[in-house]
């Protein structure tokens, strides 16, 4: 058994000195099947998201046929409740949904992660103030809070992103703070402090690398929760402006059909599920790598 901490890994590569690309490819090659599958799924989604206008037979909100047409050569997955092509809407949905979810989650982790680590390192009153502010924000039911804020500020996409990100960042804060607390009492952090390293150095070089695994695991889930938040908001009549296609609202619009055994609402829901599984396969692989454990152990 050998320990492969990130530092160990770099000494390894120093000996062999392959190009960075080469190294990445080699890692990919060694990745377990599930991770490869995850990467393929995510790449396919990204491809679809980027090239949606060229891949789709119709326009995003174009009404091309009667409502709820069956699957056919003309309408690959049938049409939706307004007679828009389901396949086209799904592909455009990838673009809008993934874009919004990614920006929102990154923003949430940027805010929540940094403040969480700082709270753990600084401790004392700084920690108390930040923690209580977060307590206040979290103590208000998030759906109610979103309802209030979206009604006050309107439901444009930037507002939606900022509101969901800020509310999500509170959860990230708590997690980041909790795991950092375990790290900041470690000897090497103490040592860094005694060396007189700055706050930024301790945050980024000592604490962050050591709390990455739980944070990344959380990222995989939070990313997917954004879709669900949007779906939940559309349940309350907020959410994304029509006729923009997004998977959360598409599930909501067609959900009633499931009671009759119709599979239509399963398509956007399945699209979310597949992406969730893909992203989390990659996250699992990353966890595996950073924890330094090899397959089959």
């Amino acid at each position: 058994m050998k320990l492969d901490s990130p530092t160990n890994l770099s000494t390894h590569t120093a000996v062999i000195r392959p190009s960075k690309l080469n190294l990445a490819l080699r890692e990919l090659w060694k990745a377990p099947l599930s991770a490869k599958l995850g990467i393929i799924i995510v790449l396919a989604y990204v491809f679809v998201a980027l090239f949606a206008p060229w891949l789709t037979p119709y326009g995003e909100s174009e009404i091309v046929g009667g409502p709820f047409e069956l699957w056919s050569e003309k309408y690959l997955l049938g049409t939706d409740n307004l007679g828009r092509d389901m396949f086209t809407r799904l592909l455009y949905g990838a673009r809008n949904t993934i874009g919004i979810a990614l920006i929102t989650t990154l923003l949430a982790f940027f805010i929540g992660g940094i403040t969480g680590i700082l709270a753990a390192i600084l401790g004392g009153w700084a920690d108390q103030i930040m923690s209580r502010v977060v307590d206040v924000l979290m103590a208000i039911p998030s759906l109610i809070f979103s309802l209030l804020l979206l009604t006050i500020f309107g439901t444009s996409i930037p507002v939606l992103i900022v509101i969901i990100a800020v509310l999500d960042s509170t959860r990230v804060f708590r997690l980041a703070r909790a795991v950092s607390l375990n790290v900041v009492v470690m000897d090497y952090v103490e040592a860094a402090r005694l060396r007189g390293e700055g706050l930024a150095w301790i945050t980024l070089r000592e604490v962050l690398p050591n709390i990455m695994p739980p944070l990344v695991a959380e990222f995989g889930l939070r990313f997917c929760f954004v879709f669900l938040t949007i779906a939940a908001l559309s349940f309350l009549g907020l959410g994304i402006q029509p006729p923009t296609a997004d998977w959360g609202s598409m599930v909501r619009d067609n959900a009633t059909l499931i009671s009759y055994g119709d599979v239509t609402p399963l398509l956007p829901a399945g699209a979310i599920a597949l992406l969730t599984v893909g992203v989390n396969f990659i996250v699992d692989w990353f966890l595996q790598k950073t924890s330094g454990l090899k397959d089959g152990q």
Partner: protein, 318 residues
């Protein structure tokens, strides 16, 4: 042990400050919403004169700070006041629903917490096996579906097709315990599916994260079994993140079940608070928010204390 008691007392004091801040934010938020209770209750049927009469009647023509201070004064005496929309005592309005909310959360938690911890530990133990993978895919798929959709699917299977459980969870105070349990089973199962993946994955991740630590290596060299190592060496040190995620999800079970309540027609607090926000019934929104906030503060406090208790080094920072 004295320091733990100090921490608790300090945190409880701060908790009251948090509640105060929440009430202020909610009050301001509802005030900032366009429209007021009188327009909202009368809806499309509102006219200028009926709205004005309604405002005079309910004292909404007073300045906002005056109303807030008045409300605060009543709260200090333990009086939640009356609903502006229908004139009923808020304490009566809430007490039954609060019980229902806690009951549903408890049932869901009793199923979800042990199940996700067990699955998380097993997944960590049999890492990368078919068991680990299928549990992962299953839980991930279940949280990818919006909760109303999970609810519809469960209703389709268990009440429409199999007729095992009712699709309406319309319990009332005189519903006997076992019937109540029967009625809330589907909503509780829905919530379980919604929160399980999060807790299960965090348990698995936290344990795997520790498996590379030197002391675990040490234990391995001693030739201890993997199960023994996980249960006795990894798990005790993995509690901090796990407990936090569990606390978060427990809070969610109490606070975030609005949609499940709507779908199953369950008379909990979530529906009441959404209705009251829409009607701008500030005293009711305030009362519900205070209860939710108190739940959060207590659960988080518990989580923090458990984190400290499981990592004694945290007791004496620096």
């Amino acid at each position: 042990m004295g320091s733990i008691v100090n921490v608790i007392l300090q945190r409880l004091g701060l908790g009251i400050l948090v509640l105060f801040a929440v009430s202020l934010i909610i009050f301001l938020g509802v005030e900032l919403l366009p429209g007021d209770l009188c327009q909202a209750i009368q809806g499309q049927a509102a006219t200028e004169s009926t709205v004005a009469a309604c405002r005079r009647d309910l004292g909404l023509d007073q300045a906002a700070p005056v109303r807030y201070i008045h409300w605060l004064g009543n709260i200090a005496q333990g009086d939640f006041g009356t609903s502006l929309a229908n004139g009923r005592k808020i304490s009566e309005l809430i007490s039954v629903r609060l019980g229902n909310t806690f009951f549903l959360a408890a049932v869901a938690a009793v199923i979800a917490v042990p199940l996700s911890l067990a699955l998380g530990i097993l997944a960590a133990l049999y890492r990368n096996s078919w068991f680990d993978r299928s549990i992962n895919i299953l839980t991930l798929s279940s949280i990818s579906f919006p909760e109303f959709f999970v609810a519809y699917i469960l209703i389709l299977i268990f009440s429409v097709k199999l007729a095992w459980f009712p699709s309406l969870a319309d319990v009332s105070p005189d519903t006997p315990f076992f019937e109540r349990l029967h009625k809330v089973f589907l909503p509780a199962l829905t919530l379980t599916l919604v929160v399980m993946a999060h807790m299960m994955r965090m348990t698995r991740a936290a344990i795997i994260n520790l498996m590379a630590s030197p002391y675990i290596e040490m234990a391995k060299f001693k030739g201890l079994s993997r199960a023994h190592i996980i249960m006795h060496h990894a798990l005790p040190n993995a509690w901090a993140p796990i407990v936090n995620v569990v606390a978060l999800n427990l809070a969610y079970l109490i606070v975030g079940v609005v949609i499940v309540e709507v779908v199953f027609v369950y008379p909990g607090l979530g529906q009441l608070i959404v209705d009251s926000v829409q009607k701008r019934d500030i005293p009711v929104v305030q009362a519900c928010s205070i209860i939710f906030a108190a739940t959060y503060v207590l659960l988080n406090l518990t989580a923090d204390i458990l984190s400290i208790a499981t990592n004694p080094r945290l007791l004496h920072p620096r």
